[in-house]
Point group: C2
């Protein structure tokens, strides 16, 4: 069977999975949790083989760390599955119930999106998390993980898929792609796939967005800003900037550009430079900044660059409006922060900056599903349609309108012989 | 200034409009209502010129009827604006408020999508409705109406835009395109336009979807089905099918394919044919149907055709599952109905059919924002992301996450020196 035909089978399975009750889906999650425990040694063995191969191939340390699937990570994913089991069923929830006329009742009820394709980095724990979120939300899933995790993913997928089938979920409700070449087939399957969630480098996500008709949820760039207002408390500003830049430089929610009100730049910059020097952060400053501290010269290109590295561009602004305009123009609408003690300035910034996350006095690194209390996330969206920001269970839902009648026809309402009452129930 | 530059100005206006308070937006709606009254004669005159031109050009009757903007239509749109004024403000609504830790508060707050491009048919009243929905929801709008309404639209747009500026909305919050050639420029402006809503023929909507990177909300096909179950009440089935087919044949929610349980086909078909003969509806039947009544022969092509005409394809199915599978395969996920007295069969159909609207015992023609009690609609979406089905005010909203801190940094939570509390407020 071709990949395209297999995906069509997944599409055909999706209404069946959508109709599976919450108890069945929870039973499937329970079965997954037990199967992962039962198969632990074989999973660890497959992961050891992946790790050996990756080490031979000279894969860098941080990627090896993500690739590793050990006792600790197994415990974490199983804890995550147990959390999901105890969450209320997101499906079949009535969002609206309205009597349109006597005996004509409209209900808006949550349902899954259908078939979700997720392309993710070489992290075996991500495969488990994504699968669990999709099972809980009644979505069929097509998984393509990073190739370094091939053996681990194969074993994890087989373990999970067999467990959910035994628990009563429909055949073909999950599918795994293994070869990188299969991604292009996935991108063409807009008849079978309702949503794509690509994770990974900007260039990769942008490639996906440019080469498919399937709706894509996610983000390419993450150019996050911190604006230090004239009414900032510098005792807060310095640690916030230090954390947002250095706590994990390669994250999409790390700060890349610092905007400083010119009244406060003389106080802030020497203190900030001293702090960032500890981590050898390279500062690229505008002319006004270069007059205050020793730094590289920034160009306009820096304004539009996501470094993902120990580099920070800094410029002064003459007022809050200039900061807002800069962020809306150069930013990626991900997460942007104002440091200020002035509540009115904070509200103005938060209302006018057009980003998924707008923060006052805290690190941009908080932009994350776990830290928002969503349990887990499938990604972060910088789009403004459907889900925005960190996307958890709720972002994997759609709804349908159910209308219950007793023979009503539109002609009676068009002629005026009947009229709508619109009474919310 | 080029069209592209003008659209960039609209994009720049969008955060300002997003921050305008509800009172200002309602004052703008009030000003629009008054200006339309004040300019009524000039508007009617522009419309008379459009009507004369259209008649000379041989534009067909039903389109002329939509093009006309008279006393009655003015009254209707003004009533619609007044309804909107009295609706609660959809913006700045807190959807989630959660303390993540002491002094670290997350809020999810509704906000507009930003800049919405609407391409619509030659109906001047649609221009007023769409503008009013966008003003209420704080969205900037780029309007391109059907060319037959050029003069009416120009006068209406100027009247509305001048009124909202005087009421305090930001400059460039609305823009009108006049030439058809400007549509292609609109399609390329993905940096300035957040959402496109095209209305019109399937071919036109499909063209838009295929030629832009901007997210598109709407529907191309509307292949709606009615399935008459073996437990159907034929006294309901016949009028429902008659209404769904003939009440307005060129609507997207008109029925195009009828599926009949074979046990009941012998009773239903002669009665149905007698009713539909009144309106000269052409029936195209499968072989089993052709044995029961006099009809044309249907081919598989009929299964996938939206006639928008007095034509109905009919086939028998051996059970409800066959009907569900047919609808999910050939349908357009718009609106599909089961006629049955059996509640379990109805629930099964409504859970398994993957459409925006799933109905029991009523006409598919009810799929409409006004009939759902939404006040007005900008369109009907057959996609499953963001809004689905008839799209009213709510479908024009997004949200942003606001995080209020007091200097919190992620390093403290990563090291375990602080922990999240996650307390919903």
């Amino acid at each position: 069977m071709s990949i395209q035909d297999e995906m069509r089978q997944v599409k055909l399975a999706s209404p069946k999975l959508a109709a599976a009750d919450g108890e069945t889906r929870n039973r499937a999650l329970q079965a997954v949790s037990e199967a992962l425990q039962a198969e632990r040694e074989a999973i660890f063995e497959a992961n050891r083989e992946d790790m050996e191969q990756a080490e031979q191939d000279g894969v860098p340390g941080p990627i090896l760390k993500r690739l590793k699937f050990d006792e600790g990570k197994l415990r974490d994913v199983i804890a995550g599955i147990n959390d999901l089991i105890h969450m209320p069923d997101p499906l079949f929830q009535t969002q609206l119930a309205r009597e349109l006329d006597e005996g004509l009742v409209l209900k808006r009820v949550t349902c899954p999106i259908g078939v979700i394709g997720v392309i993710f980095e070489a992290r075996p724990d991500a495969l488990v998390q994504i699968s669990a979120l999709c099972i809980k939300s009644g979505n069929c899933v097509i998984l393509k993980g990073g190739s370094e995790a091939l053996r681990s993913n194969k074993k994890l997928f087989t373990t999970i898929y067999e467990a959910v089938l035994k628990a009563g979920l429909p055949e073909n409700c999950m599918m795994q792609l293994e070869a990188r070449s299969e991604i292009s087939e996935l991108l063409e399957c807009h008849a079978s796939v309702d949503l794509l969630i690509p994770r990974g480098s900007n260039a990769f996500v942008q490639y996906i967005m440019d080469h498919t008709k399937i709706p894509v949820m996610g983000h390419a760039d993450g150019i996050c800003h911190i604006y230090v207002d004239k009414d900032a408390d510098l005792d807060k500003a310095v640690p916030i900037i230090f954390d947002a830049k250095t706590q994990y430089v390669s994250a999409c929610n790390a700060v890349e550009t610092l905007l400083v009100h010119h009244d406060i730049a003389g106080d802030l910059m020497p203190r900030l430079k001293a702090a960032l020097d500890e981590k050898q952060v390279e500062l690229r400053g505008s002319r006004a900044i270069a007059e205050l501290i020793d730094c590289e010269a920034a160009t306009e290109r820096d304004d539009a660059t996501e470094y993902l590295d120990y580099i920070l561009s800094v410029k002064t602004v003459s007022d809050i409006q200039e900061a807002i305009d800069h962020i809306n123009y150069y930013g990626s609408h991900h997460t942007d922060c104002i440091v200020t003690e002035n509540a009115a300035a904070a509200e103005r910034f938060m209302d006018l900056v057009d980003s998924a996350g707008v923060y006052q006095n805290c690190s941009t690194r908080f932009a994350d599903g776990y830290r928002y209390g969503f349990g887990a996330e499938v990604g972060i969206s910088t789009g403004k349609l459907h889900a925005r920001g960190p996307v958890g269970l709720e972002g994997l839902l759609s709804y349908k309108y159910k209308l219950y009648g007793q023979g009503q026809i539109v002609a009676d309402y068009a002629s005026g012989s009947k009229t709508f009452c619109f009474r919310d129930l």
